[in-house]
Symmetry: C2
Subunit: 369 residues, 2 copies
């Protein structure tokens, strides 16, 4: 017997979690569901219609029903009839009012082409969201939320650059210390672009990297001018692996040589250069976290993001990247780095921190270490 | 009464052609239909299944049925019931065997999600193909043909660069003499990318610009490695409006300064840097042109493309661009340009020509003019 939040599951977990399980429940996605719940608490109107088109075991859908009063109706779908049966039994065991649930058993893409005006839609596939992405854009209501998970983190972060080009049409950057952040910025770029094609503006409001996956929540708005405004935050990243210079630029401002150390610059992108978080939303998530049972890990993650969300920066530094670039044989502890660089730790990396210092100032402070 | 090929139409044409016409027949698209017909003659197997999901008046579908023996079945669709009625009457008047036609009256996107293994699918919307594009990728059979028209030529060619970014995610280049070619290369990039997302390789085999529209035929293949190979031909265009230097480069090779005249370079893209035509296919189109009744204009267009398809070049020159850049007060006639630069005229521009000379040699020959 497994418990997660208010949900009880009669499932034996296999040793290896995989899509081959008869009905898919992934205990490592607990934090994913915790954060989705908090997002509903602060992000959707009372009586919201919430759609989970790849519902699997239905634990997320059920937690939405049991743990928030805000959800008026859950639309659950899974293409696997076993999953649907499992979910229906789960609903009965937890005595859920059937008026609050619509259950479908079909191809998510076809279902989504019919649905409209959902306040929250969750794209949480096993693997890359790309083959499904376009269909998920339409059913989201204006000002509604689209959640997108990607488990092809290695692709987005640069281990398989060709696959990244093929799926996301962008060049990743494994050579930098914030390659996961580059990955999430490529994922955001793709969602913003796919939305813009249809005159939608999907603005990222909360992004994070956790275990093996990346996840971003977007707020939808409608209209070509709004889409244009988002597109303006898409550009390229210049990076120097000599002196750690990094800068987001537009296509016409790409240059080949580092202005600080004359190294050949590396280029990544196109990618999202705007903010990864809506600061006010992060504060509200933090405030309501007590009203739902979340894991210790979820709490830690939120706390760190609350700290870094205030820092405007594309990329971060790590102790090792600085030590290596500037040949510090005995780097001081994290505390010292945070002081010297006026830094905030990032959830992306246990030894990473963000700063708003410009590169000239950064280089000056390195000498103070 | 209008006649086009073997089709007779009882329609009065309004003075202004627009999508508001009850049933849409555009006489200016005759060349479009001529070339589609020739493409079927050389590009699909006997008994081919051919799909026209935005069939409108049905003239194209009917010409496919009446003027080629190769077509086994036509799948016609239009969302407008008036168009469907018109087409059904047209079929009767022309005594078409009903076994050879399937008629639908629904949203093209939903229909296409159900269809499979079509040897030819035509995406020919009023405006941009982008909102429909993804759905058109699936029903095309392996080695089948996808035809894509775009009438948002001004967007692709640089008059509305923001809209181009929003729809096609690329920067156009109105400042160069071959801005229409840049537009078609951006269109191709988008189709290649959309295909690659789904591990399809849509390779352009025949491209042209005519009147107000751009049109490209793609051959579909399947598999991530094949998609990767196509993606390798996507890059950026550097252009110097001082000395007319132009070069296709990869992201990491973008530079800011013209290596010949030190001007600030302009950059466009990402866009397709590969070939716009399959040379052998162009030859075969030329050979079979007599077996269908095509217009004088179609013949001229094919002839010019037959000439330029052998030249490997990204972009072309025009008499005016050379005269302006090199301050020729009395430019010689086209014939002289073609001799000096070993050029071939391009269908894109009546005063344009292609050459394979590299830029150094080009500059040397300019002095010979």
């Amino acid at each position: 017997m497994i418990r997660e939040g208010k949900v009880f599951l009669e499932l034996d977990l296999p040793k290896v979690i995989s899509a081959d399980m008869g009905v898919f429940y992934n205990p490592h996605m607990r934090e994913n569901r915790d954060i989705s719940l908090l997002m509903l608490l602060v992000g959707v109107p009372e009586g919201a219609v919430v759609c989970d088109p790849m519902g699997a075991s239905g634990v997320r859908a059920l937690r939405f029903l049991l743990e928030t009063q805000k959800v008026g109706k859950v639309i659950y779908n899974d293409i696997n009839p076993k999953a649907v049966d499992f979910f229906i039994k789960l609903l009965e065991k937890h005595s859920v009012d059937k008026q609050r649930v619509e259950v479908y058993n079909e191809d998510a893409v076809l279902l989504l082409r019919r649905l409209k005006n959902c306040h929250y839609v969750d794209l949480d596939p096993f693997g890359s969201p790309i083959p499904f992405l376009e269909s998920f854009l339409f059913p989201v209501a204006r000002h509604g939320i689209l959640a997108v998970s990607a488990t092809d983190t290695a692709v987005l972060s640069g281990t398989y650059p060709q696959t990244c080009q093929r799926r996301y049409h962008a060049k990743p950057l494994l050579e930098c210390e914030f390659y996961h952040e580059v990955g999430i910025r490529i994922l955001i770029k793709k969602v913003v672009e796919e939305g813009a094609k249809h005159d939608y503006a999907f603005e990222p409001i909360f992004s994070y990297s956790y275990r093996h996956y990346l996840r971003v929540f977007f707020r939808k708005d409608i209209g070509p001018r709004r889409a244009d405004r988002l597109m303006e935050s898409i550009g390229y990243l210049l990076y120097c692996d000599g002196c750690l210079f990094r800068k987001g630029v537009r296509l016409e401002d790409i240059q080949r040589t580092c202005p600080y150390c004359s190294n050949r610059l590396l280029v990544a992108g196109p990618l999202w250069l705007g903010s990864l978080w809506n600061k006010e939303l992060v504060e509200r998530l933090w405030e309501v976290r007590g009203s739902v049972e979340i894991s210790e890990e979820t709490n830690k993650l939120l706390k760190r993001i609350k700290g870094e969300a205030h820092i405007k920066s594309v990329g971060f530094y790590t102790l090792s990247s600085i030590a290596k670039a500037f040949r510090l044989s005995q780097p001081p502890p994290m505390k010292r780095f945070l002081e010297v660089f006026e830094g905030k730790r990032t959830h992306f990396d246990p030894e990473g921190f963000r700063t708003e210092l410009d590169h000239e100032e950064f280089l000056r402070r390195v000498k103070e270490l």
